[in-house]
């Protein structure tokens, strides 16, 4: 009995824990050992029994992998952590082409024991390859190569290199896909069973193809392949343009054995079929009206004891191209040709040569009716996986380099049996795509060719004036109206008393400067006068005649008034007692008795007359309109009159000759109802008191 102290217990516990963690990370491979399943003895016995049974199937000559899977699966439920079982399940799924499940089991096996089988990485890499995970596949392949010893490596070297090449090709092709439109032929044609090797009539009204499904003639299964015997089927286009339900033409085209379509003549009158006799031979059957005649062998030149599997005629029926795996070729199945001689017999077979044939499989040759283009499938050349479809031309005695049709026509899986319609627009082939109904399906493909260029349209505003309009002003500007700004003052000057025309002098003053502008005379005989007063001045006019009181007038033309003609007849008053003259050119500040400077000329007129007539005695009177109180107006008019008198006195006129009086509005000369009338009433007058 061990006495464990705490320290040792801790160390032990840690150690066990670490071990446990380590083994879980690694995954622990659980062998089928009774000791590993304590308390489950019964289940263990059952599991072992199943395991042995499944193993037997798995290791048989022609294993039925599907059956093996069915038996392995419950064993795996019982013990999911057996690396070897996982590997075998992965391999079974791989063989039935269920790569998704294959990957699951392979990866599990790998996590449990990477070395459970030498080929584990290789098969897993193939699975990745098929699922387009090229980089992952390449990584594993390189790893696989590294772990192999120098002896084993020679066994696998070629396989590994092929796999690597295919992955590299795959990467390139997927990156630059060709523009195609692919269409699954539909439910009426395709099923969960494989449909393949379609051949289409020239007018695309019927497709013949091969399928392995339960409706095969005879209903038998090929034990070596675990699949139904191949039979020939066909589908016809219906009135709506869809492919109609699949039909089996029955005997004599089909037999209980393998019967496959390998080709059709352009006129659709001859069908070339494969029959599983004598190692596999090619026959032709003729369409007699509506019935297919018994198939006839193509003869010894073509058919041998070996496997002949595909055939296609040249457009002129003088050459037949076919596939055979007779040993004198480049390896596996190769493509040969045979020419019809002048007697109508097929000549001996000629291998197409190393440009076309490779050590790998070549099959499914199709000669296009254009006479020079050929399509075939190969596992060699630069396939990206399994069979790929290639195109080549035969011109001037030479085959051109086989050209991979590209992705997505070719895939990582098998792409075989490509045939092209006579007009070159539609191709038919078999493939397992994402939209397959299961296993290989028939597809119609149209080549869209190079991307068609779209046209984009643009425009600019190249010319400025067209964009923004003409900036130049092309209209004419306003015309200066040369307004005749002029007032013509004219009339007749007469003696007020006698009414006779008087000869008078007319003086024109600029009141703002108190300058005399000019002096005119009127017409002595008619008394007519005319004064022209250009606009822009405030005029004072004084009319003088001998022995008469002067007449004064004010014409204010500071504002432009255009052209006016004013007729003013002037009656001059004799200097008699009582004669009155309105001093039109005496101006006062508004409401005041201050004389404005413009009054100067009028005042000078007064001084002159007082001087010319030294005995003249006058009264200066002030008058107003009726606006305001009587007393106010009286006072104002009086002070204004006084102002005038004071001025005269200051100029030397003796005061005793002068009187002043303010009449207010007592003596209006015009109506006070209008502004013009009121203006007239606001005045200064002088009256002759005595001579």
């Amino acid at each position: 009995m061990m006495i464990m102290n705490t320290l040792t217990k801790n160390i032990l516990a840690t150690f066990v824990t670490l071990l446990f963690i380590a083994s879980s990370a690694m995954g622990q491979n659980v062998s089928f050992d009774k000791a590993n399943f304590p308390g489950k003895e019964e289940q263990f016995k059952v599991a072992i029994k199943n395991l042995k049974a499944a193993d037997k199937i798995y290791s048989s000559e022609f294993p039925d992998f599907k059956a093996a899977i069915e038996i392995y699966l419950p064993v795996d439920s019982f013990n999911p952590n057996n690396a070897d079982l996982n590997y075998k399940l992965g391999k079974c799924y791989f063989k039935i082409k269920d790569y998704t499940n294959a990957i699951t089991f392979f990866e599990k096996a790998k996590s449990l024991d990477e070395k459970v089988n030498i080929e584990l990485n290789f098969y897993l890499a193939k699975c990745y390859h098929i699922n387009y995970k090229f980089d992952e596949s390449l990584e594993l392949l390189i790893k696989f190569r590294q772990i192999l010893d120098p002896i084993t490596i020679t066994q696998y070297e070629k396989l590994i290199q092929k796999e690597i090449d295919e992955c590299e090709t795959g990467k390139i092709l997927v990156k630059t896909p060709i523009r195609v439109y692919t269409k699954n032929l539909g439910e009426a044609v395709n099923s969960k069973y494989p449909e393949y090797s379609p051949v289409v009539s020239a007018d695309r009204s019927v497709i013949f193809f091969t399928s392995m499904n339960p409706t095969t003639t005879g209903g038998g299964i090929d034990a070596t392949r675990n699949q139904y015997f191949e039979d020939i089927y066909f589908t016809e286009k219906d009135s709506l343009g869809n492919w109609g339900k699949v039909q089996n033409p029955g005997k004599p085209l089909n037999s209980d054995n393998h019967d496959a379509v390998v080709g059709i003549s352009n006129d659709g009158q001859q069908l070339y079929i494969y029959k599983g006799e004598d190692g596999g031979d090619i026959y032709s059957s003729k369409l007699d009206g509506k019935l297919w005649l018994k198939p006839i062998s193509l003869g010894k030149s073509i058919n041998s004891i070996y496997h002949e599997s595909s055939a296609s005629f040249s457009y002129d029926f003088l050459t037949i191209y076919f596939v055979s795996n007779r040993p004198d070729g480049y390896g596996e199945h190769d493509i040969y040709l045979s020419k019809k001689d002048s007697k109508g017999n097929w000549g001996s077979a000629e291998n197409l040569g190393g440009d076309i044939n490779t050590p790998y499989e070549e099959t499914a040759i199709f000669a296009h009716p254009d006479g020079k283009t050929f399509y075939f499938s190969s596992k060699g050349h630069n396939t990206m996986g399994g069979y790929d479809i290639f195109k080549t031309t035969y011109e001037n005695g030479k085959w051109s380099e086989a050209q991979n049709l590209g992705y997505p026509v070719n895939t990582s899986g098998d792409d075989v049996f490509f045939s092209l319609s006579a007009d070159g627009k539609y191709g038919y082939y078999a493939s397992k795509g994402a939209d397959s109904y299961g296993s290989l399906d028939l597809y119609e493909i149209s080549f869209l060719g190079e991307e068609k260029q779209l046209v984009t349209n643009n425009e600019d505003n190249l010319l400025a004036f067209r964009t923004e309009g003409t900036k130049e002003d092309v209209s004419e500007s306003k015309v200066d109206i040369q307004e005749v700004n002029l007032t013509i003052l004219k009339g007749i000057i007469t003696d007020e008393y006698s009414k006779e025309p008087l000869f008078a002098k007319i003086e024109l003053f600029d009141l703002s400067t108190n300058q005399i502008i000019s002096t005119f005379e009127n017409n002595k005989a008619s008394g007519k006068y005319l004064v022209s007063l250009p606009a822009g001045k405030n005029y004072g006019i004084t009319v003088n005649s001998e022995n008469c009181l002067f007449y004064s007038d004010n014409v204010d033309l500071k504002e432009n008034q255009g052209f006016k003609e004013v007729i003013k007849d002037i009656q001059l008053k004799r200097i008699t007692v009582g004669s009155k003259v309105v001093l039109n050119n005496i101006f006062f500040d508004s409401g005041k008795s201050t004389l404005k400077p413009e009054s100067q000329s009028e005042l000078d007129n007064l001084i002159k007359i007082m001087t010319d007539f030294p005995s003249l005695k006058i009264e200066i009177s002030g008058h107003t309109d009726n606006v305001g109180s009587a007393s106010f107006n009286k006072t104002l008019s009086e002070s204004r009159a006084k102002e005038v008198v004071n001025h005269l006195i200051s100029k030397g006129i003796s005061a005793d000759r002068l009187t002043f009086k303010g009449y207010g509005f007592d003596e209006p000369r015009a109506t006070n109802d209008t502004p013009e009338g009121r203006q007239q009433n606001r005045r200064t007058e002088f009256k002759v008191l005595s001579r």
């Binding site: 779209l454 349209n457 600019d460 130049e472 092309v474 040369q482 005749v484 004219k490 008619s526």
Partner: protein
């Protein structure tokens, strides 16, 4: 008080009044014919009456208010009163031009030129003749304008001579005239822009860009110049530069659907389909009848593999312009992707009938 000017004033007044006095006495001398005095005065008044001019001025006011029919009525009146009123003919013609009645304006210009040939009248008629595509007539008028040596109109006359040549695709000649325009007006932004365009047409792209840049220096508000610059940059592959300049154009003129469409096309070239779509959509928002934008937006949708949506846009483009050949071509390409062989062939045949050569190739290769 300035006695000298006073003296001058008085001098002037004396001369004036002396003259008037002479007149006056002249008039007065005919005293035995008193009525003559009055008559003379009356005649002077009548002659001094400028009714026609006043009506003409009123017409100008109406013209400036955009009331062209009423303006024309005024000018009609003015001409009725004064049949030799050259300016009235010019302004009547200008009013008609504003109403886009170009042919009717020509006779007025003809009259004006007959009465008073001037730089302005030649220039105006030249513009109208240009508008009516009478290129030789326009050229002759602009040349006459230049001969008349009006400093204001010389540069514009050269400029329009440049434009007339541009329209006739005589780009070298156009450039010469733009050069003259610039010689006469160093800051002639329009001339720089148009000269740039002429150089662009001659594929002198760097030179074109120089002129466009100068134009913008002189007037940074010309959105269309930014657009033109961008298009040149697009042509020489400076896609980033093109986008920048189109964006500037749009900033200056937010409703510039042409620039939006152009910028979208650059995004298409750069495979930035969402941005391209946004720009084309904006162009359509601004101008719902801009067929180009519908077509181009269809192209963007095609690139996004949205073939049905693309076809809808091509449909719109065609409904706006049923002779839009390229829209048919593009629509056919989208229909092909939908496996509508009948539809695509019909569209390509139509495109070919409208002059699109590539469509013919497609028809020959793929259609019955």
């Amino acid at each position: 008080m300035d006695t000298h000017s006073n003296k001058m004033n008085v001098m002037r007044k004396w001369i004036f009044t002396f003259i008037l006095t002479i007149l006056f006495f002249g008039i007065m001398a005919q005293e035995n014919k008193p009525s003559e005095v009055l008559d003379t005065i009356k005649t002077v008044s009548a002659a001094d009456n400028q009714t026609a001019e006043k009506i003409y001025n009123q017409g100008i006011v109406l013209f400036q208010q955009g009331k062209y029919d009423e303006a024309i009525a005024q000018f009609n009146e003015a001409i009725k009163i004064k049949p030799n009123f050259a300016k009235a003919y010019i302004n009547r013609a200008t009013s008609k031009v504003e109403q886009k009645k170009y042919a009717e304006s020509i006779s007025d210009y003809n009259m004006a030129i007959m009465l008073e040939p001037s730089a302005k009248s030649f220039f105006s008629r030249g513009l109208v003749r240009y508008q009516m595509k009478d290129y030789s007539g326009a050229i002759s008028d602009f040349n006459s304008c230049i001969k008349a040596n009006n400093s204001e109109l010389k540069a514009p006359a050269y400029y329009y001579l440049g434009c007339v040549n541009f329209d006739q695709k005589n780009y070298d000649e156009a450039i010469k005239f733009y050069n003259s325009a610039i010689e006469n007006k160093a800051d002639y932004a329009y001339a720089f822009n148009d000269r740039g365009s002429a150089k662009k047409q001659l594929e002198q792209y760097q030179e074109a860009l120089k002129d466009y840049r100068r134009a913008i220096q002189l007037n940074p508000q010309m959105a269309f110049t930014f657009n033109n610059m961008a298009s040149v940059k697009k042509k020489i592959g400076d896609l980033e530069g093109a986008i920048t300049d189109y964006s500037s154009a749009i900033e200056l003129k937010p409703d510039y659907y042409i620039a939006y469409n152009n910028r979208g096309s650059v995004y298409l070239l750069k495979n930035e389909f969402d941005k391209a779509l946004a720009d084309f959509t904006k162009a359509i928002e601004i101008n719902k009848d801009y067929a180009f934008a519908y077509n181009n937006r269809g192209n963007a949708k095609y690139k996004q593999k949205r073939y049905e949506d693309a076809i809808k846009d091509y449909d719109s483009a065609i409904s706006i312009d049923e002779n839009y050949g390229f829209a048919y071509l593009n629509r056919g390409i989208s229909k092909e992707m939908l496996r509508d062989e009948e539809g695509s062939c019909a569209d390509w045949k139509k495109a070919y009938s409208l002059g699109i050569e590539t469509a013919h190739n497609y028809v020959q290769a793929q259609c019955k």
